[in-house]
């Protein structure tokens, strides 16, 4: 068993820029999250892109699909913005790759107090290890199939659909 973790940006990876007062992308926080988690499973980290999921175009989703296709690891976690996480899950799901792909994200950036990011990353790593091949969304301590999940934006949680 080995894992690939693909970073695409999203709230999980947003960091504060003291000069502009904005939340922006820098080097991904995921390597330091994995070090902290003391993981011993073989794991490749791939910083593919760093964008807000609201800014994601079809071309970005095709890039993510291509990264999953070329991955030597058959257990993949994609860290993604939550707003269009479902759309990317659909693109990956329809491709029917013979791999277990788990998309996750965060409602609060890793670097901000009371973030859910580290919990979600742990949950997603286990789901990517244990689920059948296919595409799954892991949020709120639940695993949803790619074709039956949506984000309830007013509640800030993912729900079965």
């Amino acid at each position: 068993m080995s894992l690939r973790i693909i970073a695409t940006g999203g709230t999980f990876d947003k960091q504060y820029d003291p000069l502009t007062g904005q939340l922006v992308f820098g080097d991904s926080v995921i390597p330091s999250a994995l070090a902290r988690a003391r993981i011993t499973v073989p794991c490749q980290f791939e910083p593919l892109m760093a964008i807000d999921s609201l800014d994601m175009l079809d071309s970005h989703r095709q890039q993510i699909l291509a990264a999953c296709e070329r991955s030597n690891e058959r257990h993949i976690v994609v860290v993604h913005g939550t707003d269009t996480l479902r759309e990317t899950a659909m693109v990956l799901g329809q491709a029917k790759l013979p791999k277990t792909i788990v998309l996750t994200g965060a409602m609060v950036p890793y670097r901000i107090d009371e973030s859910d990011a580290l919990f979600n990353l742990g949950f997603a790593c286990a789901a990517a290890t244990l689920c059948e091949p296919g595409v799954h969304v892991a949020m709120n301590a639940q695993v949803f199939p790619w074709h039956a999940v949506h984000k309830n934006r007013s509640a800030g949680v993912f729900e079965a659909q």
Copy 2:
């Protein structure tokens, strides 16, 4: 699907006492960790005991087994000290309950910088959701069967045995 999370103490739940300068047990940190994780899956939290796993006696392990037996939830996470986590896993494993029981812990307390606790809790919740009935140990982003795992104390990691 619903989860039960049983706290038994261990490093995960150690907190600093400013008056004595010692790491001690107080109210479990797990409810605040679960709130932070924004879980929506039905989940019962049971603070069963709060002890160092080095201080755990057979009677404590029998209490943990009894808690798993009487649990209405069939997916159970036991948060436990790492030093004798394997011994408790053996007691639970030999009982062959028709439930999925996942033991986890932490190498660094939840309340201390760079703790692995939240990652491990997320990983264990997914493992408890997804694994077959039986007893499993979830540490270092790996799932080990109860009868084939040990803690490498000099490296501070769990390994297959």
Copy 3:
């Protein structure tokens, strides 16, 4: 000796809103910062307003001045956004109140990793305790007089002028 701490908003007090992904104002973080600091000096906390200092109008500065005037405490810390901290310092300085008023802020919000907020609050409390009556700006571990300080925006630090 007793202190008054007046909150006006600014980066120090910005908090992340998971639903909008924005940094916004909620209840001030200052009471929890003071509890954490274990202060024993008598201290009144006054949440006067919660705005970005770039949005501050003359009327806001007059409100801050009025709060300093009516303060029974003669040692006052004003927590303020850094962008127009100097402008408010000038309004307060020209009023020549017989009180020690120290303005401080933060380059990174209190609730975000590696924030300078708690250091600055500690520094400002000491400056408000120890400085002569007058208006001072405390940032970057320095005390500047109100009429001779500016923010170097490209470096993100306050400098003597």
Copy 4:
């Protein structure tokens, strides 16, 4: 104006050792605290020793006194364990050096949630900048003279004596 910050150990600098489960000393946290504080005042950091203040002998206090004597900076912060902070303050105070020396510490280590360390460091840096030459203890947002302070151990605070 320039500062010297002398580390001697104490709760402020205690760090968790995952292998032993103990709070121990490693590289001082003070350089990272100062970086985070974005200080621009010239500042020398001197890691003199790293011991629990309960283990401090007369010879250690003489070393601290010698470090203060040879310091080119006339504004000095000594970060010290709280249990015998007063004893060291007395040794330094009786030496009547023509320098401003401020001793501070923490009730909760810097690396543990809700630590007072960063506040105290900020407070002490301001006190070392602003106080008259002499030896002072800065804790709980108060400045105490060296000869009239004691730690109330049951309350965990410093008090005038």
